[in-house]
């Protein structure tokens, strides 16, 4: 047509017809025409991180049951996604997690105790985001996605090689901010990988109420962004797909959208009651696709993971869990002066007055 410029080839942008898979649920390798199985070494390292991730999840849930943590949205069953999101990044890169991505933060090197400060109720964010380039966990859904684009866009303007890994859930893709972020990134060819963990539920709302699209990865073409879908319980496939996306973005080819098909096998949080909206059979089918067991079987079958190695990994995970228990049992109350200290660089006169009022109340309590 004379006056229409096709700015990008639509076919190139569509995802694979089926999610990329490199290891079957039974732990056997699956050949793929585009993506290669990562090295045994890489898979072993990933398995180690996944062992820890699982333990972090389950220890945190236990702490909730013991009343030492207020709430914990677990990524139990999604640990392959959590680990892959962190492991494909370099130290220069940034990770933008949601409330469900504590395990990914830990996989990137954060102390689990710092990563749990939000959910423990001490403060809104427990880590210094600049230390490991991990943004504060975001609760308002999809709002972190334009932030991720901004960090990446600034890096590009400064000539830095940063790639940003931006996480969100299937539910969050329905928010306007998802749309605006992907569109910005596409127009400016910003180095961001948008990684959707489609765990098939947004609290109680099933995927079919969230979208009628063939897959969430099909949203990419509408922005001129390549979309890809991957088996979210296959850590090998995740490393391959996300790794390719990150390197592609680092090379200047712009953003990518990756959807991982996985499942939230536990409740949304401890406050949730999943029996109201789904049945056990559905859950059971997904428990059988557990990512940890899948990779473990693969590695064992190929003698890449020995019994001693497995025991050592369990021991490491035990140590992490023990440190979490110890760290979270400290009962020191945060100082109320904190409330006023960081609203602005310098408190306004109004805040200074209010801080004084609280300080006075406290001193009277102490005195009285």
């Amino acid at each position: 047509m004379d006056h229409l410029v096709m700015t990008s080839d639509p076919r190139r942008l569509l995802p694979s017809d089926a999610p990329v898979r490199l290891i079957s649920p039974e732990g056997e390798p699956v050949p793929h025409e585009t993506y290669r199985l990562p090295s045994g070494e890489a898979l072993l390292a990933a398995y180690a991180a996944m062992t820890t991730a699982r333990r972090v999840n389950d220890q945190a849930s236990a702490l909730v049951r013991q009343g030492r943590l207020a709430v914990y949205p677990s990524s139990h069953g999604q640990e392959a996604c959590q680990v892959a999101a962190a492991q494909v990044l370099t130290d220069d890169d940034w990770l933008f997690p949601t409330y469900r991505d504590v395990a990914a933060m830990v996989a990137r090197g954060l102390d689990p105790v710092e990563a749990l400060v939000l959910l423990q109720g001490d403060w809104h964010c427990g880590h210094n985001p600049y230390e490991r380039k991990v943004a504060p966990q975001t609760t308002p859904l999809a709002t972190q996605l334009p932030h991720a684009v901004g960090v990446a866009h600034a890096a590009r303007l400064k000539g830095e090689p940063t790639v940003v890994m931006a996480l969100c859930g299937d539910g969050a893709t329905s928010e306007g901010d998802f749309h605006e972020a992907l569109n910005f990134a596409a127009v400016f060819q910003t180095p961001v990988v948008f990684f959707v963990q489609n765990n098939r539920y947004a609290i109680s709302v099933p995927l079919a109420r969230q979208t009628a699209a063939p897959s969430l990865a099909h949203k990419g073409v509408g922005y001129g962004i390549p979309g890809e879908q991957v088996d979210g319980n296959d850590l090998a496939a995740l490393l391959a797909v996300l790794g390719t996306a990150v390197e592609r973005a680092r090379g200047g080819a712009g953003p990518q959208l990756v959807e991982a098909h996985t499942y939230r096998v536990q409740a949304h949080t401890n406050a949730d009651d999943p029996t109201r909206y789904r049945d056990e059979a559905e859950v059971g089918a997904w428990v059988a696709r557990d990512p940890l067991r899948r990779l473990g079987t693969f590695l064992e079958n190929r003698a890449l993971l020995t019994a001693e190695q497995a025991a050592a990994l369990d021991k490491d995970a035990d140590d992490v869990a023990a440190a979490m228990r110890a760290g979270l049992s400290k009962d020191a109350e945060p100082d109320p002066a904190r409330l006023f200290a960081h609203v602005y660089q310098t408190p306004t006169p109004q805040l200074a007055e209010q801080a004084a009022l609280v300080a006075d109340e406290i001193s009277r309590m102490v005195d009285g």
Binding site: G121, W123, L141, A172, S174, I203, S204, Y277, L339
Partner: protein, 329 residues
């Protein structure tokens, strides 16, 4: 009218929705997780089972979309009631609320009315993490074209929600989260005054406490303590922020000559500022002292372990009362 019974505010709200939906089939309820789950606070519990998925349904996760779709449904003869899951999660819908919900009737010179209710669980005191405890009523009360109400009792929860649903105008219905589980005996539907009317919850002669929503029980508690100390405090429950009941509030303040406004929201440019400003204007020569405010501080809502330092409490209210320039002090 129903028999007196003992129930929680949450149950009263559920009943209001149920009764409204049974009475008028143009009433539809939708939002995030309001279907089979019954909402994260279970306010819509059982509605999908009783009325079907066409009358009470889950939507995609998109608050602007939820409110925008409600606008269209209201334009086409329905009475949508939508739930925003938490206060801070209504912000994505802000443009739809301010630029459309609030303006459609005026824009069309009365031809297109929008009988929409936007239910917002709000305020703190339940140990919620960031974004789960905002008191956002000022944003809406400042916006012409909206009614803004908030119950503090079980009876009002039922009565005000029923009125909101039958109202010809959009109502922002603020539900104080921490009162969801408060229990009370009430004959639902009986004797609830209309939107726009404040209520005197306790008589008193020395000073007037003006409160709404979550701070009403606090004001009553403060008045109890004050009574033990020999001071008689009157308590006014606003119930409706817009329209505002100048008459009841000013009569009350004139009768005591002293007043304290108690609200959880940050004080700056808030509903509490408005109360002080308008009551002072109307009652200036009756006032023995300036009207004081006990409000949340001008800070982001704190994390669970610090929220008690932020929230108005009995001591702060009584300190404010003590500051009202009593002759004997």
């Amino acid at each position: 009218m129903n028999q007196p019974e003992t129930l929680t505010m949450a149950q009263a709200l559920t009943r209001a929705l149920r009764d409204a939906m049974a009475e008028d089939e143009s009433v539809v309820m939708f939002g995030e997780d309001v279907g089979p789950l019954g909402g994260v606070f279970r306010i819509t519990d059982g509605l999908t089972a009783e009325f079907g998925d066409a009358r009470c349904f889950d939507t995609p996760l998109a608050e602007a979309g939820i409110v925008g779709v409600a606008v269209g449904m209201a334009m086409n003869g329905m009475r949508p009631v939508v739930e925003m899951q938490f206060d801070a999660f209504a912000y994505p819908a802000f443009e739809q609320v301010v630029s459309h919900v609030a303006k459609m009737r005026n824009r069309t010179r009365g031809q297109v009315a929008l009988p929409i209710v936007i239910r917002i669980p709000y305020a703190g005191g339940i140990g919620g993490v960031e974004h789960h405890s905002d008191s956002s009523e000022a944003y809406f009360a400042h916006t012409p074209g909206l009614h803004v109400v908030t119950p503090s009792t079980v009876a009002d929860a039922y009565g005000l929600l029923r009125q909101a649903i039958t109202s010809a105008d959009p109502v922002i219905f603020f539900e104080p989260k921490k009162l969801y589980w408060s229990k009370e005996q009430a004959a639902l539907g009986a004797g609830v005054p209309p939107i726009g009317t404040a209520a005197i919850r306790r008589d008193g002669t020395d000073a007037t406490l003006i409160a709404y929503g979550p701070t009403v029980p606090l004001a009553l508690e403060a008045a109890d303590v004050a009574a033990q100390e020999g001071r008689s405090l009157q308590v006014v429950d606003l119930r409706s922020l817009v329209p505002f009941d100048d008459q009841t509030v000013c009569d009350a303040v004139r009768s005591t000559g002293r007043a304290v406004v108690v609200a959880e929201a940050s004080g700056f440019a808030s509903v509490s500022s408005e109360i002080v400003a308008r009551v002072t204007d109307r009652c200036f020569h009756y006032l023995a002292a300036p009207i004081r405010r006990v409000t949340g501080f001008d800070i982001p809502y704190p994390p669970p372990k610090l929220e008690r330092f932020h929230l108005p409490d009995v001591d702060r209210v009584l300190d404010a009362v003590d500051d009202l320039q009593w002759e004997d002090s």
